[in-house]
Symmetry: C2
Subunit: 153 residues, 2 copies
Amino acid sequence: MKDPRPCSIAATLAVVGEKYSLLVLREVSLGATRFDQLVRNTGAPRDVLTTRLKRLVDAGLLEKAEYSDRPRRYEYRPTRAGLELEPVLLTLMAWGDRHLQEGGFRPMVLEHACGHELVPQVVCRECGEQVEHEALTAHPQAPGWTVTGPAAA
Amino acid sequence: MKDPRPCSIAATLAVVGEKYSLLVLREVSLGATRFDQLVRNTGAPRDVLTTRLKRLVDAGLLEKAEYSDRPRRYEYRPTRAGLELEPVLLTLMAWGDRHLQEGGFRPMVLEHACGHELVPQVVCRECGEQVEHEALTAHPQAPGWTVTGPAAA
DNA sequence: TTGGAGAGTTGGAAAATCAAACTCACCGGG
DNA sequence: CCCGGTGAGTTTGATTTTCCAACTCTCCAA
């Protein structure tokens, strides 16, 4: 009766929820894979970046690849699992574009292979409809948990 | 030449990227809107929760609503803007379900109004195709920024 | 031989986190 | 009238993180 709700959101955030982690993923997805690029582009202090990179490599989201021996230098490439976090980045970006950017200015525009500017949408895989809050019903699977909290303790 | 990349992902994380903020959004979206529920269900220390709630209310993602005067008690309800972060929560959950939960166990199953279990997918609004990393091209709009970093400073 | 790059490490101050205890207002018995 | 309990925080003091600047170490190039 002391543990928080078991949840894949929390589990995922335990891996990528620390400050700068998702910005690192953003950069490596864009192709900025080197330490000094990550420092400049994310604004992370160098020591913090070091520990974030270690964590992301350990978690299998990045891999450290030598791109030059003599001098020995490494870059950080996203793994498939790392790239699969892109939907998270896209939905975060979409929300920020809509709610935070005044004047409709978008700091980054993404072009989809279909030829259009990408406006990401989250849909139900079965019916293809855009997912609305009102159309969802949650079913907690963990024993002792209901939608609002622990069952009558 | 010292600021990090201007980006809606970073802007959004500045609002909801601190520890527990997204878990609070998860809970209020589920219907657990009261202080003690949030403490139990997220695991946040009470004082931290207080500051997170203040921030989320100030940012317009939650609203504080009196549900009883005498004794005066408040709950925190998600605003429309708050609910619009659900796509982020859904994609985080999907990633965790796929990459972190052994044995395919899902701590939470969501049912869509169409009658099926929800498997969220991110698609391009124009063509409806699922978004793949390889199908994206990024176009930074901020002056001085390229896809890998600041332009030749 | 001096001067960069690039990729980190180190040191110490400042800020955030944590758990537990405490407050304050009220309610409902006994 | 007193007592325990609930709900929503606030306070306290110890522990962790963060932050930033400066430093290291390896190489290459002028």
